[in-house]
Structures are given as structure tokens and as C-alpha cells.
């Protein structure tokens, strides 16, 4: 157990984890509840269409789901990287 990551690493890991989670939750909120519901009228009218679909409608039915998959992929990737940086990766 001598190579346990130090307390500093642990604290920094948690801080960075929280920052990442906050950013991703912000994106999550904007693409779904934001674009699909709260600002959809504005998106429908003022922004370019996706194919023939108004942007707000498309975000609500398709775009948000695609964004969710991307968010999770980014989360997985960033967390794995963070664990490597702070010394939590297995040294096998």
C-alpha cells in the first residue's frame, strides 16, 4: 500500500471531477431542457433548420439524444485521463 496516491492528489482529483461534472451538467441542461423546451420557440424561428425540421423541434426529438451520447463519451474519456494524471491508474 506504499504507492497510495497522496492526499493532495485525492483532493485535486475530486475538485477536477466536480468541475467536469458541473460543465457537463451545464451542457446537458442547455441541449435538453433549454434547447428542447425553454428556448425552443426562439430556436425554431431564428436559427437555421436541420434538413426540413425547425431546430427546436429537432433538438427535442433527436438532437438532445445525440448530445447525451456525446456527453457520456466525453465524460468517460476525461475521467480516464484524470485518473491517469492523478496516479489512480493501475500500473500493470
Amino acid at each position: 500500500m506504499s504507492e497510495q496516491p497522496s492526499e493532495l492528489h485525492c483532493r485535486r482529483y475530486w475538485q477536477k471531477n466536480i468541475t467536469l461534472v458541473m460543465i457537463l451538467l451545464g451542457v446537458w441542461f442547455v441541449v435538453s431542457l433549454g434547447a428542447g423546451i425553454l428556448f425552443r420557440d426562439w430556436l425554431d424561428e431564428s436559427l437555421p433548420k436541420v434538413g426540413n425540421a425547425p431546430l427546436g423541434f429537432w433538438m427535442a426529438q433527436q438532437g438532445s439524444i445525440i448530445c447525451f451520447v456525446i456527453i457520456l463519451y466525453v465524460y468517460k474519456h476525461m475521467m480516464n485521463k484524470l485518473e491517469g494524471e492523478e496516479g489512480f491508474t493501475s500500473k500493470k
Partner: protein, 613 residues
Amino acid sequence: MSQDYWNYIFIGLSFVLYIGIAVRSRAGSTKEYYTAGGGVSPLANGMATAADWMSAATFISMAGTIAISGYDASRFLMGWTGGFVLLTILMVPFLRKFGKATVPDFIGDRYYSKLARAVAVLCAIFICMTYIMGQMRGVGVVFSQLFGIGIPAGVATGAGIVFVYAGMGGMKGITYTQVAQYCVMAFAYTIPAIFIAIALTDNFIPQLGLIGDYTAGAKESIPFLTKINNINTELGFSEYTSGKMSKVNMFCITAALMCGTAGLPHVIVRFFTVKNVRAVRSSACWTLLFIAVIYLTAPTIGAFSRVNLIEKLNNTSYSEAPAWFKEFEETGQMAWVDKNNDGKIQYSGPAKSEAGTSSPFMGSKPVYPAYDAPKEQRIGIHGERLLAMKADMTNPNELWFGNDIMVMANPHMGGLPKWVIALLMAGCIAAALSTAAGLLLVLSTSISHDLMKKIIKPDLTDKEEVRYARIASFVALGVAAYFGINPPSAFIAKTVAFAFGLAASSFFPTLLMGIFSKKMNKEGAIAGMLAGISFTLGYIIYFQFLGGKPEQYLLGISPEGIGCIGMLLNFAVAFLVSSFTPAPPQEVVDMVESIRLPDNPNDEGDSAPPVVH
């Protein structure tokens, strides 16, 4: 070859596959029974979780709901997928690191209280039970249609099959069966969508067809969404892409579904089956990808089949109506009431009548005369099946169809080959069975592990515990089958939808505070849980069962969305109470510290979640 043979072949083959897998991977120990030994690969676990998540109701009715309510149905699409983001980044990595087998385990230990554990067990049992009843009903309906047996016999057959591989195989058995079931479901869902997309929009990717042009029939092609909006407004419905639900209500329902998803015990426990925290993240990523395949296809099926249905049926005389219309009339999923006696089927929406109604008859579901009634009471002058209830003459609409019909009728409407329809049947059964099996397992663990071992009889041995789990799953299945045969009227459908609100107002905040706040103590958590769930439950009961009127809604939020407010209440009460009461003991704070960190790199091979004694 007739349709029946194709059905038997496809469903028979899929069953042989499922049971074969279940027998090969049956569980030997409690560890394998609860969490498949913790050694399932992220990809396989992702598929299995996706199959678990897609219930018969989602598989069959979601596209139908989208077809009927257009934009408004986006709340389900966003709610049920968006919840996975919350689940993955806020919950499962930490709960997996905690390393015990169930969700009540975490709540009981984190809040160092048997009372908290007992409340959690009750919530878990309630949520799973309402779900599984609906699934058993679904299995029964499909089986009864397939083999021409009654619904009770259909439910009993389904229950028997679920018991064989969930009760016997445990988590390990069902995980690998669900992988096979996901594949069947994904093919069954997307292949008809592709055929229809080609027929209507000349594009073999349904998602591109939806935003592309409508090319069937018309002289010149117009955007598909313009076409469906035109159809809707001509017939007196609101525009497909606009919807009519208020913003605040839509927001609250979507948020409640999202947070509810992140608090559902049977989904959380799925992530205990993989090797370590790193694998949890990767597995969740796969799960959402597999779910997205189906959820991105659902809106296209909804929109295409709405256009197809209306083009094929509206203003068609009954004698010329396609054969499938008569088949669905026979099974009671479609009905026609010839109000103006012109022999033609007319379909119209609320805007076409002064009363603002669009129901063809009095009541919400068709009721037919008894089979032994005189012929003239059963069959009308055009050969149609007559209803036992009066026509609703306040509006001109003559056509009724159930939500389930869109997915099931889709291949018929598109004139697709018979094997596609058989594949769809098999997919439908796969959806119901996989969810029922997953729920059954959580239910049986809640009873054997959380209730028997942790609260009632702590000296249970490993072997006895598995035995209790099997007995519990047998009993639970019996109860579920009973309610599948005798559903307490509309109660089940309602409670399934409300289970999300309840999960959002109870489990979600409690788990979240347990992970992200070191100061949260047992008094705060229990008070918060009770405040959240009693407020939500009270609101639902008042408006659903005690006759509350929509005008009395708080801020215009319907009972479906109130879980969102219940959740905020839970947080508020929990923080308020915890600020007056003693802080949690040091060992709990240490535990919270430790679950926040990833696996210790020097521990040998990331141990599987131990079923600790």
C-alpha cells in the same frame, strides 16, 4: 406460408436461444446471483441494461404516443435518455465503488440507520412491483394474440418462462439472455422503420427521412414535416411540430422523468455487474448508445405511421379498407363508428367539433357486445364490428385506435413481408421478458438480502439467502401474474408513470446528497425522503383518485410532473433538518471520502462487489 407459422418459428427460435443461454450461465453463488460475479464486459452489460430499460410499454406504446401528440411526446424521449446522463455522472461510479449489492444497502450504511434502510426497501419494492405488473400484462396480451389463448393463460405462460431463467439463473443468467434480447429488439424495431422510410421518403435512413422530403404519391415532393403538419391541421389537430402542452408543465414532467430514471433501483443495480469503476463509465456509455438507437428511431416510426394510417384510412369506404384494419378491429385495437351512415371512415381532431372533443364513442376504450349476442348487435350493415356503447355525437370523428397500434400495425400498413411481422412479435416479447426478469431480480434481492438478512435474520448463510431469493421471486411473480390477469383497472398504467415521480422525489435526492454532501445526516435524509414522497404521493392521489380538477394544479403542473417539485422539497427539508441535528459520525464521513475516489490501483484485480456479511 401463413403468418402464424412465421410467428411460431421466430418466437420459438428466440426462446430456445434465451433458455439455452440461461441454462449455460446459471448462478452458483450469491455473488453470481446478485451481480453476475462482477465480471461482465462493459459492452455486454451495456446491451443487457438497454434491454432491461426498454420495457414492453416503451417498445410498443412510445411510438404511438409520439404519433398522437407529436412535439409534446418529446418529454419521454428526452426524459428517459437524459436521465442516463445524470445516472452516469452523478450516481453509478460512486455506488459501484461503495461495492455492495443493492441500493437500500447504500442508503442503510450511508445514513447509519435501519429506518432509512427499511424506507428504501419499501420504495424499491413498490417501484418494482408496479412495473412488473404492467410487464406481465404486456406478455399476456402478446401471447394471447399469438396463440389465440385467453389473457390469463398468456400471463401464466409468460410468468413460467420468466421464472425459469430469472429465478434459476440469477443476474448472470439474465445478463447474457438480455444481450440476445437486445439484438432481437433492435432488429425488430429498426427494420420496419427502414422499409417505411424508403416507401414514404425514398431515404433508407429513417432519421434522415424525417427531416427530408415526402415523396410517396404526390406529384411534387414537399418536406415530410410540412406534409404531416398539413394533415394534422386539415383534420383539426394541433400542428405536429408545435404541441399544446404548457412550457412549465413540459419542463417539470421532463425533469421528473430524468431524475426518476437516475433513481430507479433496477437500473442502478445493473452497473454493479461490471468489473470496476472504469468499466462502469464505459458500460454506461454503451448503454446509452444502444438505447439511443431505439429512441432515435421511435420518432420516425411515430411520424411515418401517422401519415400512413391517415392516408390509408381517412375517407376510405369500409368495404375498401385494407385487410389489416379488419384484423385489428377483431382484436379490439381499432374501432369504427359510422356516425353519418355514409359507409366511409372519417377521422378528425378536436378542432372540428364545437365541443372540442374527438372521441368516436362515450368512454375511453371500446366495449363490445357479448359473443353470444344476436348477430345484428355484433355486426353492422357494412360488415364492421359494432360497439356496445353509444356514439359520441358532439364531434364528427369516427375512428378509434389504441396507442399500441402504431408499432404493431406499422409493417402491415407498409405491406412488409410476413417475417418482419414475426420478428416484431419476437421483439415485443423480448422487451417484456427482459424487463420483467430484471425487475424480478431486484425485487427478490430486496426481500432476501435487504429485508431478511439485514433487518430480520442477520445470521443467514449464503446458501439460505439464495434460496430465500428464489422463493421471493416465485412469490413476487405469483403476485405480479395475479395483477396481470386482474389489473386494478387504470391504476397500473397510472402508477407506472408516477413511479418516476416517486423515484425522483425519494431516491434521487437521497442518493445524491449521500454522495456529494459529507454533512448530510440520517435525520435530514429521512425527513427529506418522507417530505418528498408524501408530498408527491399526496398530490397524485388528490388529482387522480379524489377528483381534483386540472384548474387547481399548482402552477399548472400536472401530477406526472409534480415529482420535480417533490424533489426540490426533499432537498430543502433535508438541508434544513440536517443543520439543526448532529453531524454524521466520522466513519460515515470516511466512507463518503473513499467512494469519491476511483479504485485503488494497488489492490489486486479490482475486486468484484463483495456480498458482505
